[in-house]
Amino acid sequence: MILFRLAFAAVALCVMAAPASSEELYGTLKKVHDTKSFTIGYREASFPFAYYDDQKKPTGFAVELCTRIGEAVKQQLNMPDIEIRYLPVNSQTRIPLLTNGTIDIECGSSTISLGRQEQVDFTYSFYVTGGRLLASKESGIKDVEDLNGKAVGVAQGTSNEITINQLIKSRKLNLKLVYVRDHAEGMLALETGRIDAYVHDEVGEYALLAKSTQRERFDLVGPLLSFDPYGLMIRRDDSAFKLVANRALATIYRSGEIYQMFKRDFEPFGIPMTPAVDWTYKLNALPE
């Protein structure tokens, strides 16, 4: 009799836990259901959001959030055998690979912008930062006005490039703009004295400083030059999957687990919790 009731309960649970399969699946959820795989596109050097650990495995703050979303998708579809795959992307390939279905979500440090939302969609924000100047102390740069006559580096294809070009126009700055391929080369250019200051998101600059052997030569100076809320990139017109992803994020925010993750991933690099980041988690901790 007990066995019978257990079996009944198990069946009832299965029926209750699988409401999604009774609806018509579409978009990412349908694709994951049909292919039994969920592919996470990750950035290889977006410290501390997405990078490689000692075993060359993708890891980081955003990668963990994406993996949790993958787990939520498994639960939603009630398919524990779905395989979560990882694929490296860069700033040139992330949008094409997402729109053509190669990856299902992009995790790194992509800014949620209105322009980008003409091509893609984003989950709730998981971090808020902005561009800031990382200047060498000997250059004497303390603020944006001091950039006149100086050499300033920026990575091609980043939102920082747009920020500094707008700043040059609006403040009529006369500076020498040096393009670098990525942030590691930007730091190299700064260390070797090729440039006096580097423009990058503040959080990334903390990470660059933490890894530099000459960090006492440089300072973060001036105000934030832009507003960059980071989000996980997903396909447009995909509300059902977006809800699964946002629900997973809201649960992590609401339980306060996000603050433990923050402590673990950010504090070793001296990255402080700012009010803007704190409010991002509080505002997006929506109730069930």
């Binding site: 949008i95 729109t99 053509n100 091509q119 091609q156 294809g157 391929r181 090729r194």
Partner: protein
Amino acid sequence: MSAYNWNWAVIVSEPYVGWLLDGLAVTVMLALSSWAIALVLGTVIGLARTLPSAPLRWLATGYVELFRNIPVLVQMFLWFFVLPELLPREAGHWLKRDLPHPEFFSAMVCLGLYTASRVAEQVRSGITSVPPGLAAAARASGLSLAQTYRYVLVPLGFRIIVPPLTSEFLGIFKNTSIALTIGVMEITASSRQIESYTFQGYEAFAAATALYLLLALLLLFLTRRIEARTRIPGWIARSNT
């Protein structure tokens, strides 16, 4: 599945079309200036590889093997980031800060020296493909070594290698795209910049592809005419031992 919003207008609207044309100009300037270096240096080194003097031959062979066997991408990085650190402080500072467009000149020197090693191999094979009897006859009839090169080996050898040289010339245009890794804003870099501003990556890269293709076809048309004019009728076909 694809939810991509196509917008071909991007690549013909300002300022993006201007970026592409600027990129095209940089590509052409970089290719032509590094080709000049490659042709002059490659000829000297290629000829040195055929000289009777052993030390000169070894020196030239060393150059070719060094530059031909290191990937261009690595060479680009070495010229741009490493060289200024090895030089005396003032010279390094000048390279990094006072030289206008250091990335362009680094790329020019890098591509020029790399392609020179390939040109040198073509030149050497051209000279050695001239039947040895001709050079021997020239020396026997009283021409000096310099005169033998000037009047016999170089005119014949160079006309043989025009077709492979023109293909090196086309290759240098494509290799300029590697210069984007040190910040040269050539065609590929321009298309990446358009992608980052508009998120219309497919259109931007399609435009870059079309520009490279047009450039290559134009060059092919020109070089075919040069090849036709410099061909030695009956020379290649004739068996020579």
